[in-house]
Every structure is written in C-alpha cells, then in structure tokens.
C-alpha cells in the first residue's frame, strides 16, 4: 500500500508568504484570546479544593448548587465529570479554611440530600504550592526551549535552532489559545502534554533539517528554494504516517482514557495537528528568510564522508 505517490516536488516555498500569514493570524488570535479571556487554571495552580462525588443515579447539578449555597459557600463550581453520575465541585481558597473540615461538611450536606453520594476524590492545594507550580512550569518551558535551540544549533546551525523553536513555540501558544478560547481547564497534565509536544514537534523540524542538509550535499546545483521543497516533499509521507500513528495513540486516550486524561489528550491532539503544519511549513520558510546557505551546512569535502545522515 502507498498513500503518497508524489512524483514532482511540491512548490511549498512559493506559498511561503501565505503560510506565514496564516501562522501569524492564528498566533495573534491565540495571543488575543489568552489576553482577553485568560487560562482557566485548575486548582493545582490557583489553590483551592476539588471534590469528586459519585451518585447512584444521574446527579442533579442544580440541586447540589442550591444545597451548597444554603451552606453559605460562594464562588464554587459544580459540573458533571466523565458521566452524568459523577460531579466535580471546585471550591476556592478561603483563609483559615481547613480542607478536611470543608470536605466533611460538604459531604454531610450532599449525603443529607441523596444518601448515595460517595466521595471519590479530594484534592486540596494551598496558595503557595500553586504559585510554585506555575513558576516551575514556566521555568520548564524556558529550559526546554533553550535546550532545544542549543542542541539544534550544535547539531545543525543556529538558524535551524531558532527557526525550529519559533515554529514550535507558536504551536504552544496556539494550544494555549484553544484552552483560553474554550475555557478548558488548564491543569498539570495539560502542561506536561504541552512540553511533550514541544519535544515531539521538534522531531519534525529535525527530520526536515536533516533532509535539507543532505540535499545541500547531493543537489549541488539546485537553488535553496528547490532544496527545501524537495526536502519537505520527500519526508512528507513519513511526517503524515508518524503523526497519524501518534494521533491514533492519543485518540485511544481521548476515547478510553476517561475524564482524568481528557484535556491531556485534547492538548496532545491540537499539538500534533499544528505540529505537522508548523514544524514543516513555518520552520522551513523561516530558515530560508534567516538566509541559510550551502556553506552553513556542508563542511569541506574531507569531513563529509564520515557523517551518516538521512
């Protein structure tokens, strides 16, 4: 079987401007949503208490809300979680509030309404821990970006490092933009997914960069544009198949992983889809605009033999 019988190089670079405009627009939209709506941080970052309560029959969210309001709780949220029988209750931090006392009094109130209410999970995070998590997350993102730029600069050329990281950070911002637009909950696993995607999408850029370097050696007469077009075209089937396989694994998670892994899988899905686009069609034009030349990648003839490259 063969999906990609592409006989001629596709002139990607001719449309480079269009791709860059698309990227820029999505990027700006994402930044706009982030600025306007902000991320819906989970209590892991903001601090607070989350209770997961399970009922024997479909839970009446409205009734739960009323019960809690009667108990003088404010600013909480109640929603179904995974199934109609499970609800998730989020409580903000209150100074001097003991989490044990809180979960107990909430459960007492809910059990009085419906005897089948059972507490499945409680999570409490203090304000200090939340701030630290947010700081550490940002730090991890920074270190990963720097690490990747340095590695690619060392392995290829600084232009590839810079282009790859711009392309992939643009992915990260777009994922964040989705989370801001839909107000999906941004939790620690989502952060992990974003960083994993950052490392993974760079693979794409590496594969294309490897091919560009190889083409510079093999196609000595070709123009830079032609070389980049050929590199993208010849790695395209691999790109799509690999991403398809990874997406299959993520899709299984999305379908069977339950509510706990839902947003993790969602973040990965967006990341994979935009990863294909950005690491190929954003990175390559950037590299060209940064002015990549044959001399940047092809070392003098003597050294060439030793390197095994795709």
């Amino acid at each position: 079987m063969e999906f990609f019988k592409i006989r001629r190089d596709i002139p990607f670079m001719r449309h480079a401007l269009a791709f860059n405009v698309i990227s820029l627009v999505t990027f700006l939209l994402a930044v706009g949503f982030l600025a306007l709506r902000g991320l819906n941080f989970s209590i892991e970052f903001t601090g607070g208490t989350v209770l997961e309560v399970s009922y024997a029959n479909a839970a009446d969210v409205e009734k739960i809300r009323n019960t809690l309001e009667k108990k003088e709780y404010h600013d909480f949220s109640v929603q179904n979680f995974g199934s109609s029988r499970d609800v998730l209750i989020r409580m903000p931090l209150k100074p001097g509030q003991e989490s044990a006392a809180l979960s107990r009094s909430v459960m007492e109130a809910l059990s009085a309404d419906d005897g089948s209410a059972t507490l499945k999970r409680v999570e409490f995070v203090g304000p200090q821990v939340g701030r630290e998590l947010a700081e550490n997350g940002a730090l991890a993102l920074l270190i990963t970006s720097l690490g990747i730029v340095i590695y690619l600069a060392f392995r290829f050329e600084w232009k590839f490092g810079v282009a790859a990281i711009i392309a992939n950070l643009h992915d990260v911002v777009i994922i964040l933009g989705f989370f801001a637009f839909f107000q999906w909950e941004f939790s620690l696993p989502v952060l992990a997914a974003i960083l994993a995607i950052l490392g993974y999408s760079v693979n794409e850029s590496v594969v294309v960069a490897d091919r560009i370097r190889e083409n510079f050696r093999k196609m000595r007469k070709a123009s830079v544009t032609h070389i980049i077009d050929n590199a993208i075209t010849s790695t395209m089937s691999r790109t799509i198949i690999t991403h398809g396989c990874t997406q299959a694994a993520v899709l299984a998670m999305l379908l069977f992983g339950g509510a706990a892994l839902h947003y993790f899988a969602v973040a990965l899905t967006i990341g994979i889809l935009f990863g294909i686009y950005s690491s190929v069609l954003v990175m390559s034009p950037l590299v060209r605009w940064l002015g990549v030349r044959r001399e940047d990648l092809v070392k003098p003839v003597r050294e060439r033999k030793d390197e095994a490259v795709v």
Binding site: E2, K5, R7, E44, E52, E98, S99, A100, S103, K120, R121, V122, E123, F124, G126, V129, L133, N136, G137, L139, A140, I143, T144, G147, I148, Y151, R155, L188, P189, A192, A196, G199, Y200, V202, V206, V207, D210, S234, S237, R238, I241, T242, C245, T246, A248, A249, V250, A252, M253, L255, F256, G257, G258, A260, L261, F264, A265, A308, V309, V310
Partner: protein
C-alpha cells in the same frame, strides 16, 4: 552486509529474556496479606515476634501461604480475604494483649503473589501511585520561623542561667523577633557577659549597641546554627509523624522530606482523611509529675492494681515492671522541653538522656527539685491519650539550669530510644497542610482500567496499520514496538518507579511516538528501492541513514522530558519518568531489535530479489 555478529543477537535475546522476567511479576496479581510492624519506637520486630506470629496462626489452624520478615516488618500471605481478616484478629490478639495500648501495628495489606524466586531476583510488580491504588497524600509545610523562635526562647533561658551562675548583673533579657537583647548598666559588665556568652553559647553571634545610659548586647543565631536548628526541626517532625502514623495501621506509609522545609506523607489505602489529619496534627507530650509517696505501700499498690486508685493519683507500671502511683497534678509538660539527647552520665559513665528545658521550665524544675530532695519524680510520655512512665528517678539534689539528666538501668539503645521518644513526643515546629489528595479505591481501579485500555487500543490500531502498510517490515516494526513496551514495563518494575495515571498515559504516548523511528526507517528503505537500489543495499542504507535522524529527534524529546522531570512535581513527574525511560528504550528497540529481525530474515540470503515492504514500483 545485513548481518549482525552473533553477540548482537545474544544481547537482544538476553534483553528480551530479562524484560520478560522483570515484567512477569505484574501478571500474578496480588494476594491478601497481613503486615505486622512496630507501633513504638522502642520495640523492634524480630525473629521472636515472627515465631509468636507463626505459633498464633498454628493455634487457630490458619495456613499462611507465605510468612517472612522484611524491612517493614513481618508479612503473612494468605489464601483469601476471609482468612486474611481472621488471621489479622488472631495475630492482633497474640501480639497486643491490651488492645487499648497496642505494641504492634497489625494491618491488612496486599502482597504480590509472584513466586518467591522472582522476588529473590528483585523482580517486583510496578509500584502503583496513589491515584491508581487509592489513598491519601499530604504535603506538609514546616513553619521554620516558629522553630527558630523556639530556639531563641531556649537561648534566652540559657543566657539567664549563665549570667546568674557567673554573678553578672543585667537589667533585663528580652527576645525580639530576630534575636536576643540583654541590657546592662555599664560597659565593663557587658564585656564580661559577652565573654561568658561567647564561651558557653557558640550558636549566638553577638554585637554591642546602645546609648550612654544603656548598654545593650544583641545576639542573633548564626546562619549555620539556624540551618542546624531547621534541619533538626524537620527531622524531629518526620520522626513524630512516623510515630503517629504507626497508630493508623497503614501498611506502607511513605514519609519523606521534600525540599528544605516540606514533608510528604502518603498513606495508601487510607480513606478516612479526617481521621488521618486528626492523628497527624495531634501533639503527644511529655509530662513530669511527682510520685504519690504517701500511698506507695504494698497494700495501696495491690488495691490500685485492682482498680481502687487513691484520690488524686493514677496507677502506672514502670518499664521494669514496678507498680507506681503517680499524682495527677502535672509539674511540667513537654512544651517546656527544648531538646532531648542520648549521652552518658558524667560520673558513672552510664547511658543517660539529657533533657534541656526552656527558661520557665528550668525555674519550675529547680523549685520543685529543691523542695523534694529524696522523693521520686515520674517522667511520663503521654501518647495517644495514654501515659507511660518512662522512668521514675529519686531526686538527689536541686537541679537548676534547665539541664536534666535521666539515667539508671538503661542500655545505650534504650537511652537512644528514650531520647527519640521524648523528642518525637511533640513537633519541633508547627506544620500546615499545603496540598492534599485523596483517591478512593474504586476510582483507582477505574483509572488503571482506563489507562490500560487507552494503551492497548492505541497499540492495536498502530500495529494493524503498520502491518497493512509495510507488510513484513511492518510486522518487524510491531514486534520491535512490543519489545519497547516490554522493556519499559520491565524498567519501571525494576526501578520501582511510581506508576501514576499520567505515567500510563506516557506509556501510550511513548508507543505512539516510538513508531516514528520505524516509519523513518521503512520510508527510507522504500525510497532507496524506488531509486533502484538492490533490496540488501536498500535495507542497509535505510537503517544507516535513518539512525542519525532518530538520535537527533529523540534527544530533543529527551530534553523536554528531562525539563519536566527536574521542574515537575506530582502528576507531571510521574509522566516525565515514564516518558524519559520510554525514549531510551525506544531507541534500542526500534533500531537494534527491528534490525536484528530484518537481518535474521533477509541478511543471509545471497539472492534477494524483493522484500515485502509495500508497493515501491511506481515512478
């Protein structure tokens, strides 16, 4: 050209065999068990206890399927949950004659039912995190400021005592927020005092200040002494938590330091958070009371043993079995105790415990001892609402200075344990819960199932696609991917890294990413074939050329994984561990293992006309 030397095949075969071996324990499931551990710091679980457990089980005709002792205590494996409950009762009865005051913790637990020879080579099932097995997780923050304040308080007392001993007159000692200020009338006295304090209390950094009318000496705790105080506070709090958690009867509690001022407490299987919190937060203390000398005669003691205790007294039995009547009136509580260290008596060289009291405590103690020379005083440890007489020495002279020594009839080990017990009786500094996670057991089981399902369905989809698209090479890729899964599970089992739900997600994701290497290789081989290379040359070139790309792309993934591992906590860390391990195993399996298969299948054929890797005949 597509042949591996024999040793490569041997290495691959060996890796697979080891992988199978260390993955094996995960398939045996868990058997009900009873675990016995010590509930008191002074009691050790040893062979004698093992014999008692064995005998108790024999007496009630319970046949354990396994009985052994390890670092955590004694474990008894049983056939089913009915005998497990019965065995627990029987063992608890045999070991704890007084159920109100248990010496041993007897808890229900689950033990891997993998055969003993697997356990002997350290092949254990994966260690499941709390989100998969259910339980409580707390992160406690120690209030270090309070620990330092406490230390300053005791230093104030020390300075007062020292100056009085040396007859140096001061006009006042006060504790400020960050240090101690001593006031003097003239400069000469201040210089004298400074010398004394510098000699006796090296922890203080002293400086002179003050105007013409008043001469002040300010002492702050030196940074290294501060650090020592904080480390000590943390250690003591961890010890206290250990003692308290023993009471809960948790099978495998985790109590660990995290960072400079935090403690993680994980209690697998515990559902009652309220109870757990109450126990963690409660203070056990030391009490010093006087022995009721008037009623210490044989008749009154015998009556007290029967329950007729004289008014205002309580009946206790000392460690050495001596009965004792102790007054209810408390002379001193553990709040006044700032330190307890094991050591030796200066004169007799007997093992002893040195107690340090704070200023108020020292004064009370001096007054009481002066009035009660020749009488006995009892030192009690009030734990779990019940008291135990640690020792009841005779007061031989007035004891001032807040330094008290307990000695007599003690071994070095006992002195160590007693000091620990006294220290651990109370928290060195208050703690606050800054993070809490409780997961019910049903949710844990659900999480395992969901994680497992996602992995399997993802794996099956990828496998089906690879075999249809790349035919025989697809099959090789799938076998390589399976060995990747095998190695990953084996590594996780071997390292006993905690597997969490994000960890399972990382397994699924790693499989989806690892196939990238094989896709790269297979695509490259097809391309070479299309360009007219012979099958053998195409296979060779495909693997050789793809290798550099595979290493590059995995290293970038690994950079992200390591950043997550370093900066992540909780669920992110669980994800990062598996992700990083998965990247490492995937390089080996997708390159070396799949190449071995290809080489075995095609490498030895002289005339290889075509290979089954899908359609490459289009131009």
């Amino acid at each position: 050209m597509n042949r591996y030397p024999l040793w490569t095949y041997i290495v691959v075969a060996l890796a697979v065999v080891l992988g199978l071996l260390y993955t094996l324990p995960n398939f045996f499931g868990e058997a009900p068990a009873v675990q016995v551990s010590s509930a008191k710091a002074t009691l050790k679980v040893d062979a004698a206890v093992l014999a008692r457990v064995e005998e108790a089980l024999k007496r009630s005709d319970i046949q354990p399927t396994g009985l052994f002792q390890d670092l955590n205590g004694i474990k008894v494996r049983l056939a089913n949950t009915d005998t497990q409950l019965k065995a627990k009762d029987v063992i608890a009865q045999a070991l704890n004659p007084d159920p109100q005051n248990p010496s041993y913790t007897v808890a229900l637990n689950l033990l891997s039912s993998s055969p003993a020879w697997l356990t002997a080579i350290h092949a254990l099932p994966m260690y499941l995190g709390l989100d998969l097995r259910g339980g409580v997780h707390f992160l406690l923050q120690v209030d270090m400021k309070a620990a330092l304040t406490k230390r300053l308080d005791s230093l104030v007392g020390d300075i007062r005592t020292q100056l009085r001993d040396k007859n140096i007159r001061h006009t006042g000692i006060a504790r400020e927020s960050s240090g101690v200020i001593v006031r003097f009338r003239d400069e000469e006295t201040r210089a004298k005092a400074r010398k004394v304090i510098e000699d006796q209390l090296p922890d203080l950094q002293l400086s002179d200040s003050g105007d013409g009318a008043e001469y002040r000496l300010t002492g702050v705790i030196k940074p290294e002494a501060q650090k020592r105080t904080q480390e000590f506070a943390l250690k003591q709090n961890i010890q206290t938590l250990h003692n308290r958690i023993n009471e809960l009867g948790v099978a495998e509690p985790v109590i660990q330091q995290q960072g400079a001022d935090r403690v993680v407490v994980q209690l697998p299987g515990v559902q009652d958070t309220a109870k757990a919190k109450e126990i963690l937060g409660r203070t056990a203390t030391l009490e010093i009371r006087m022995v009721d000398e008037e009623n210490m005669n044989a008749g009154a003691l015998a009556a007290a043993a029967q329950g007729q205790v004289p008014f205002g007294s309580e009946y206790y039995v000392e460690r050495n079995g001596q009965p004792l009547l102790v007054r209810k009136q408390v002379v001193l509580t553990g709040d006044r105790l700032t330190d307890a260290q094991p050591g030796f008596d200066n004169q007799t060289q007997e093992p002893a415990v040195h107690l340090t009291l704070d200023a108020t405590g020292a004064r009370i103690f001096r007054d009481v001892t002066r009035e009660s020379i020749g009488k006995r005083m009892a030192i009690l440890l009030i734990e779990k609402g019940k008291g135990e007489v640690v020792t009841a020495p005779v007061i031989r002279s007035e004891i001032g200075g807040g330094r008290v020594q307990i000695s007599g009839r003690m071994t070095t080990a006992e002195a160590n344990d007693t000091a620990l017990l006294l220290r651990a009786g109370s928290l060195a500094a208050p703690m606050e819960i800054v993070e809490e996670r409780t997961v019910g057991p049903s949710l844990g089981a659900e999480n395992i199932k969901k994680g497992f399902d996602s992995t399997i369905y993802g794996f099956l989809t990828i496998s089906a696609f690879m075999i249809i698209y790349y035919v025989v090479f697809g099959l090789f890729s799938v076998v390589a991917l399976s060995t990747n899964l095998l190695f990953l599970v084996a590594m996780l089992s071997l390292l006993q890294a905690t597997l969490t739900l994000p960890g399972i997600a990382a397994i699924a994701l790693t499989l989806g990413m690892a196939i990238d290497a094989n896709v790269l290789i297979n695509e490259r081989i097809r391309e070479e074939l299309r360009a007219g290379a012979t099958p053998q040359a195409a296979i060779h070139a495909g693997y050789e050329r793809a290798f550099g790309t595979i290493v590059d792309s995995n290293i970038t993934s690994l950079i992200a994984g390591l950043a997550l591992l370093i900066f992540g906590s909780g669920p992110v860390r669980g994800f990062a561990v598996v992700h990083c391990l998965g990247i490492l195993t995937s390089i080996f399996s997708s390159v070396v293992v799949s190449r071995s298969l290809v080489n075995l299948a095609y490498g030895s054929r002289r005339k290889l006309e075509r290979v089954a890797i899908g359609n490459t005949n289009w131009k």
